[in-house]
Amino acid sequence: MSAPASAGKQTLLEVAHLSMRFGGVVAVDDVSFTAYRRDITAIIGPNGAGKTTVFNCLTGFYRPSAGHLGFERDGHVLALERLQGHRIAREAGVARTFQNVRLFAGMTVLENLIVAQHRILTRASVYNLGGLFGLKRHRRAERDAVEKARDWLERLDLVDRADDAAGNLPYGQQRRLEIARAMCTDPTLLCVDEPAAGLNPHEKAGLAQLLKSIRDTYGIGILLIEHDMSVVMGISDHVVVLNYGKKIADGTAAEVRRDAGVIAAYLGEEA
């Protein structure tokens, strides 16, 4: 198996010897891989392979038992495993979506996208004090935030539903809105956890298109967990395969598809 075509690519995330144990269960066992800027890196594997655990370590929901998560931002390397949960999103710019959609269901679609811009708006309002008295800088920042949200709503074709509760959207649109919300935090790495689950083939194609356009327009790295091979094979620049917490393959989509170990993991060993 040859190394992925990494020539001329900027490293964004370097996962080195990551392990995560829960008591006696080893969910992730010595996994190492690299994700690049302007790349879609897919993490695939059978159920229970440890894909979401890798995500939870990356985004600060778990503290890894061992290993290093080096994240490059503005020329220096941040150690994600040492940052507190919310500071990973804030300082490293790692945004994520969830396997079971986690929108702010009672708030409107627009509000979901505005909340994602919390940090910028809090600064502009001088930690809310200025905003209390209608500071001009805050009003301008809020207008910009709404414009950014409007761009995303137009892209997702949701402008008409901007003032509806997010929980009332059809499931497919909720998934897309969650990606838009993550993008509103201006991330450098977007982690999407099974975005195609529960979508119909038409919606899946639209989702693949959306992820590709995010990569090309914003030049950020995307980390994708997905079971649907039509999505993975169609858009991934680079695929990492996990099984029982261990990495069993790493390469381009075409390489991984031919890999004997991967075929065995998915279809079972030939007798």
Partner: protein, 424 residues
Amino acid sequence: MAEAGTAAGWNGRLKEAALAACVAFALALPLVGIETTDAESGPGFVTRFNWVAIAVAAVFFGKLLLSFLPDEILPQQRAARSVAASESRTILLIGAAGAAAALALPLMPFSSRYLVDLATSVLIYIMLGWGLNIVVGLAGLLNLGYAAFYAVGAYSFALFAQGFDLSFWEALPIAGLLAALAGILLGLPVLRLRGDYLAIVTLGFGEIVRIVLINWGSVTGGPNGINGIPRPSFFGMPFVRSAPAGTTTFSDFFGLGFDPVQRVIFLYYVILLLALATNWFSLRLRRLPIGRAWEALREDEIACRALGINPTSVKLSAFAISAMLGGFAGAFFATRQGFISPESFGFQESATVLAIVVLGGLGSQLGVVLAAIVLVTLPEFGREFDQFRMLLFGAAMVGIMIWRPRGILANRAPSIRLKPKGAA
């Protein structure tokens, strides 16, 4: 209830009505059927079984009648209907009209000392309700010990005003600040708790504060409370018959005759001002990043973290600001009564304020006003009903929860709307 007209339908309905009548009988027999009397020969009782019969019959036929109502007009379905965007303007109009009516109330011909006093009580509860609404309605953190902050505000006001001879307006911010500190003190240990667990800890916190007030006799006066709390003055002019040396009384300055009602009306305007400021403050906060973060926290704390929002600071700010508003209300309560004791800050108080917020509709400003009016004035109207007063009160609460399960005003108005392009 769908099989209208069939024999089976009739049977079911009769059974249901009979069951309700049985429950009514069990409840009415001790509550309505026996009246205690206080004759010269000692306490006794008389029975009133005819009243019980009336109650049981009313419940039986009422339940039967209800079962004939078509499904569409049953309360649950009606409450679920959402409100169109244009109705938020109606709410704004109602709010403005309400504020104008409140301003004019003491000047109305039908106004009386009793009415203004009652309205002052209502306004205290409205203010408490708005304060609690921030933590319960917006941030979604159930707090059963809100009276603790009310108490901290009242006691710190009383102690500072007496001990350092501060005026009402000087001691008010101190009371708010100390209450906010108490809020942070409560918030720190409960950061990881939610729902039922949080409710129990806040309940305990409320009791701790009350018990400290009872037992810390050297500072708080123990169960005797604090007496002679300074009354507010109108820019230094006291509301008394004859002025102390070096001051002019309010009535002399304006050339009015002395009338104790003047102070009652002044107090009413003070609490109205405080309440309106509270309303402005919380409406404003809701549209700021912190307010949206509170609501986001209520909806999903994990998603908040993933978006880089620090749940710790968001929660603590909700506790602190909510407590501060409670503290202001407490300070006003202390200066109005002139006397405070731990008895005024028991669990009953926390429960009433929470009931106001829940009955009004979580997160709704106007709902709190309506619920406070209902909950504070209902026992007053009920005075003629004598010992049935609390029964009536309970029935009204149950009624509201049946007809409006999510509160009187359950609709959430968005904090921001998408305007058509170019209109911004």
